[in-house]
């Protein structure tokens, strides 16, 4: 028994590495010679390992229990336990699926929205006649009128709407849009020098939004022959074009290009033109670089930039056919427009006498 105890102590010291060099050698000798001792060493080693692991686990459990005691489990479980409601549970369990579905839906909506609003130009349509700013009938003006009776007769009513028109013949036939003069009591046109002439509507074409006016003012002097001609055919995409119009009280140049052979929502009677236009440009001539009138500006896409529309010029010719030929005056067939080869400034100098501001009173 005593020996057993000693042996056990030695084995333990051996396993813990507490033996001296000589003792260790002697013990290993003993172990090699005596299988019983060797077996004891192995089992004791296994036992010690188990004991150590047991101890480690025990202390880990103690530590965890201490930590666990600091957690407010009750309130946590209140927060986390399954909600009695089925819907809340469904939400909690499938939150990621819902998130994916929601973002997909959102994406789809955004794409549809952007396709509708950007890709396809089918927004609403905005005609370009101008509501003239109401000029205040100030007391001063009236007094001056009374005092200064020599002053030219001016229309008492200020114009309500305005647009642009251009000469079709030198004897005072003008072309404009129907929507410019629609419902007018009287129409006056004003040339680049500020002279105002009375005009009457001689032809209306609601199908193509065109109207033909005739200046009936005795003060009107016939124009010299037109510097441009009306284009009969179609024109290609990308053609450089310009227009002169009256979005304000002075003529304004707009330059751009034909961006589509069809107009609003595929309307084949009009071009789409990338050109800056504003209310007041309606009825203005759309000319190419060679001085051909290729269309009449009549509208632009609502809320879309750079998409204006112009009625094709062949419909102007159709409208002209409705007017007795002899009343159109002498017809000068231009072989070649005098505008060809001129720079834009010169071209505009020549054209501006033939472009009128239309003032509508009603």
């Amino acid at each position: 028994m005593r020996n057993e105890l000693e042996l056990d102590a030695i084995i333990e010291d051996f396993l813990n590495g507490k033996l001296t060099q000589e003792e260790r050698k002697a013990f290993e000798q003993l172990r090699a010679n005596d299988p019983a001792v060797d077996h004891k060493v192995v089992t004791h080693q296994f036992f010690l390992d188990s004991m150590k692991k047991y101890g480690d686990t025990l202390s880990l459990k103690d530590k965890m229990n201490a930590i666990h005691a600091t957690i407010d489990v009750e309130s946590l479980s209140d927060k986390l336990k399954p909600h009695p409601s089925y819907i809340v549970n469904l939400w909690r369990n499938n939150r990621s699926a819902f998130a994916v579905a929601a973002s997909f839906l959102l994406l789809a909506m955004v794409s549809i929205y952007s396709i509708q609003h950007n890709t396809k130009q089918n927004g609403s349509y905005e005609v370009m006649s101008r509501e003239l700013v109401k000029i205040k009938n100030s007391q001063n003006n009236l007094i001056r009128n009374i005092n200064n009776s020599k002053l030219e007769k001016v229309p008492v009513n200020p114009a309500k709407f305005g647009g642009t028109g251009f000469a079709l013949t030198s004897n005072g036939y003008l072309c404009t849009n129907l929507h410019v003069i629609n419902g007018a009591d009287s129409v006056h046109v004003q040339n680049a020098n500020g002279e105002s002439f009375k005009a009457k509507v001689v032809y209306q074409d609601p199908q193509y939004d065109l109207a033909i006016l005739k200046i009936v003012d005795k003060n009107f002097v016939e124009l010299s022959s037109l510097p441009y001609k009306i284009n009969k055919g179609n024109i290609g995409m990308g053609e450089d074009v310009f227009t002169l119009g009256f979005p304000k009280d002075d003529a304004v140049l707009g330059e751009g290009y034909v961006s589509s052979k069809t107009g609003h929502a595929g309307d084949t009677t009009a071009y789409q033109v990338s050109i800056p236009v504003n209310p007041g440009n309606s009825g203005g001539p759309l000319l190419d670089n060679r001085g051909n009138v290729i269309g009449v500006i009549n509208a632009k896409e609502y809320q879309v930039d750079g998409a204006a529309f112009a009625v094709k010029s062949k419909y102007i010719l159709e409208a002209l056919n409705a007017i007795p030929q002899d009343s159109l005056g002498k017809k000068v067939v231009l072989k070649k427009s005098p505008l060809v080869g001129l720079n834009r400034t010169k071209q505009l100098d020549m054209i501006q006498d033939y472009v009128f501001m239309i003032k509508v009173y009603n």
Binding site: E4, L5, D8, A9, T43, H44, F47, L48, S50, M51, K52, K53, Y54, G55, T57, L58, S59, L60, K61, K63, M64, N65, I67, H68, T70, I71, V73, E74, L76, S77, K79, L80, K81, P82, R92, N93, R95, S96
Partner: protein, 188 residues
Amino acid sequence: MSNKLSSSLPTDREVVLGILNNSDDALNKLYVGYFPMILQFILSNNGDEDDAKDVYQEAIIVLYNKIKSGDFELSSKLKTYIYSVCRRIWLKKLSKESKKAINVADFEDIEAVDTDMEALEEKDQQFEKMKSSLDLLGEPCKTIIQDFYINNLSMQEISEKFGYTNTDNAKTQKYKCLQRLKKLFFQA
């Protein structure tokens, strides 16, 4: 997904290094950080708070042993690992009770942890064996053995604590206790 875990989640690296260095602080952060996730899982799958505690602590022990053994390679997030281990433990407990396949409602991604589970069971058995052996050993043997082998007290301290007249008596007593314990442990 689970409700928001407490904001002080330690990083995975922090936890692994902390466990290797026996840091109590790391254990604390780990324990507090991931407990709500497991609590939610257990509560949603027919368990109560105590089940959650047991399962969670077992999983932490698995994690500890794995990290300590040195072959710990985190193939996924620590969170996923802990969740997967807990899920396996809980499934096992559920199937023991009802003896049929059970579906659990999941809150997190899971990964395969089979080999770790086998190791756990082995460890678990050893632990239980040692525990029952010690319980069978009775006092004062149990305390003497635990003091010497686990709390690392010297024979001197033990003989003073138990009032032995000299350390030789204590040694003899310890020897007897140890022999009985070994017998119990290896027989069981």
